[in-house]
């Protein structure tokens, strides 16, 4: 591990403060978006895009992924694939719910009581 020079420290400090400023502005923007009169789906999409951008900034600069070795990305890609599978599988496999999500819990309750 190479020791960092004071000049390098200063350079990195300025960069980290810029990232901090961007994250702070993005946080305010996320809150502002929640007050917009847009459809729920659009609001969710906007909030998630901003959160993804913020997460990418933290990963790239604070976790140094921008300079990381390629071997690490195989772990991360597998992790992202499994994460989305985990996120979507329960919704997709609940067939009845996918067809009619809003009435699913109401219809299923009497059926369970009758079978018991």
């Amino acid at each position: 591990m190479d020791a960092a020079s004071p000049h390098e420290i200063r350079h990195h400090f300025v960069r980290y403060m810029k990232v901090f400023g961007t994250l702070a502005v993005m946080t305010v923007l996320t809150v502002a978006v929640s007050y917009l009169s847009v459809p729920v789906a659009v609001g969710v999409a906007l909030a998630m895009v901003i959160a993804l951008f913020k997460g990418t900034l933290v990963g790239a600069y604070f976790m140094h992924l921008a300079q990381e070795r390629k071997a690490l990305f195989s772990i991360l890609i597998l992790c992202v694939v499994l994460f989305f599978a985990l996120l979507l599988l329960p919704v997709l496999t609940t067939h009845e719910m996918a067809k009619d999500p809003y009435h699913y819990p109401i219809r299923s309750a009497p059926a369970t009581a009758a079978s018991a």
Binding site: M1, D2, A3, A4, S5, P6, I9, H12, F13, Y16, M17, V19, F20, L23, A24, T27, V28, T30, V31, V33, S34, V40, G43, V44, A47, M48, I50, A51, K54, G55, V58, G59, Y61, F62, M63, E68, R69, K70, A71, L72, I75, L76, L78, C79, L82, F83, L86, L87, L88, L89, P90, V91, T94, M97, P101, Y102, Y104, P105
Partner: protein, 197 residues
């Protein structure tokens, strides 16, 4: 004895600790992934999910805590950077700032959010929304607490390693930082999901 604690492994290109912490973080993604998955499943199946303006959560408090955690990420990465400069005193200073900010996050969470909610009867059993809220933020809060314990260890007894092997100590600070930034990223997603959507 664990090998490649300082020098990179010839196959992975990174020291053992870093590979280990990334594998651990991958498992953590799965843990929080299950929570987010449950949230989606419960939310799409619930027509009465509260609108964010009247779900009882305070957006300014959530936003304040977001700034606190982002700030703690900056102090954490600075601690690692000055460690590379071989300045242990500055490193401890930045680590102390990180612990202070993490403690502030938990104090705000407990005294300005959890206790008032529980006093008003809005506990986990009140509704599906509050069950998800307490589960997700409670799990995240435990991770913040874990971070406080680990960082405090490296300010205190764990700093003895600096005297015998400064490079090893610096790598441990980097690994702790990776964990801490992950905790920050989880909050970056939890904040809009629970407070704003």
């Amino acid at each position: 004895m664990l090998r490649y604690t300082v020098k990179p492994h010839p196959v992975t290109g990174m020291y053992s600790g870093k590979l280990g912490i990334w594998l651990f973080l991958a498992s953590e993604v799965m843990l929080f992934g299950a929570v987010f998955s449950s949230y989606i499943l419960l939310r799409v199946g619930n027509a009465d999910w509260p609108h964010h303006h009247d779900n009882g959560l305070s957006t300014p408090i959530g936003m304040f805590n977001t700034f606190v955690l982002i700030g703690s990420s900056v102090t954490m990465v600075m601690a690692w950077l000055v460690c590379k400069e071989k300045n242990i005193l500055k490193c401890h200073k930045y680590l102390t700032y990180t612990v202070a900010l993490a403690a502030l996050f938990l104090v705000v969470k407990i005294f300005f959010e959890y206790i008032p909610k529980l006093e008003h009867g809005h506990g986990p059993s009140h509704s599906t929304f509050f069950a998800v809220y307490f589960l997700a933020t409670g799990l995240h809060g435990l991770h913040v607490l874990g971070g406080i314990v680990v960082i405090s260890y490296f300010i205190g007894p764990g700093s003895k390693l600096w005297e015998t092997n400064p490079e090893y100590y610096t790598n441990r600070i980097e690994c702790t930082g990776l964990y801490w930034h992950f905790v920050d990223i989880v909050w970056i997603f939890l904040f809009p999901v629970l407070y704003l959507l």
